[in-house]
Subunit: 192 residues, 2 copies
Amino acid sequence: MNVMNASPRRKELTRLAAQLFVQEGFDRTTVRMLAQEMGIKSGSLFHHFKDKQEILAAVIEEGTQNALVIARKALDECAEDPEVRLRAMARAHLETLFTDRNAHVVALFEWRRLDPTASAHLSHLRDAYEALWVAVIDDALEAGLIHGDRFLVSRFVLGALNWTVRWYDPNGPRSPDDLADELVAMIMPTSA
Amino acid sequence: MNVMNASPRRKELTRLAAQLFVQEGFDRTTVRMLAQEMGIKSGSLFHHFKDKQEILAAVIEEGTQNALVIARKALDECAEDPEVRLRAMARAHLETLFTDRNAHVVALFEWRRLDPTASAHLSHLRDAYEALWVAVIDDALEAGLIHGDRFLVSRFVLGALNWTVRWYDPNGPRSPDDLADELVAMIMPTSA
DNA sequence: CGTTTACACTAGCGCTTGCTCGGTTACTCT
DNA sequence: AGAGTAACCGAGCAAGCGCTAGTGTAAACG
């Protein structure tokens, strides 16, 4: 068994698992279903992951890592103007949400199935990501770009963005970037 | 077995079930756990509900019905000013979200566990509720109170509101009404 | 060459699951 | 008193669950 590696094989299996977890939910996805999707038998699955829990943790870790990388890159690449940064952050959020959609849906809706150990470890990743958001929101507030309570604003914005996975159709006419821009415009009085 | 009644006993059992579904998730809640919480044995449970699915449907129906009633009452009781109605609708949403919190959390996060028949029936209820929102949003847009795409705005607002169940602490300093007002203020440029 | 390593297989154990069913209790209505 | 009925119990079945153990095989390595 691979204790803690990130072999390409394991990455691919993690991707397939994410898809099934989204389709069926974590609890309803059996190891036999996972194995079949991966083209192996259920016993072989435990050569790659020590138990079902570890598969869930791998899926969520993958998604959250990517979110962090993409958000940092987006912020690095743009100017220091608070409005630009806010828009960039919103775009980055939706970008990762829909390129790694399966992993993020699992992270958002199956987080509670993690055992305490895995949850604690992954919480740090998640906190690091949210810290980026809080910083951007703070700057926007300070610049008078938006108004309200910093805590509430960031929660509302993240809620609105995360909820998109429930209704957004990637095959529709609107791009994720459009969505991000519309949301930012919605909360910015100056752009009326 | 009670085919389709709403006896007080069944209502109470539904309430208890909602609580457990929130704590453990639908799939992880066994009929034995449900029975114990209700003070009966697992076999007796099927005198009240024909199967586990029906319990889930009962929980969701209860919550959605209440949401409809509360929202309609709130709209009936307030003036025709679009801003007032928007605020009233947001308040009503959070009010029902936190007085029937368990039922709504189940409705929001366990909807997919419903079998197609139950889902179809309950979708009508849900659509009726969302229609109230769309009407209110439309009026607010027409009055120039808010701006943006009517479809996107309502999705963003509902997303922000629904996501509150993930972070809002009813024992904190803020009331649900405060939350609703802050959100409305956030998306209304005129109130800056 | 022999040994190691990665990956897969078969078989099945021990347990839990949703649900059934015949029988019992307690209350209501005539 | 007797009949009807809603509520509940105890026992357990068939299916499915996560996971383990032991084995086979082919490529990689000294």
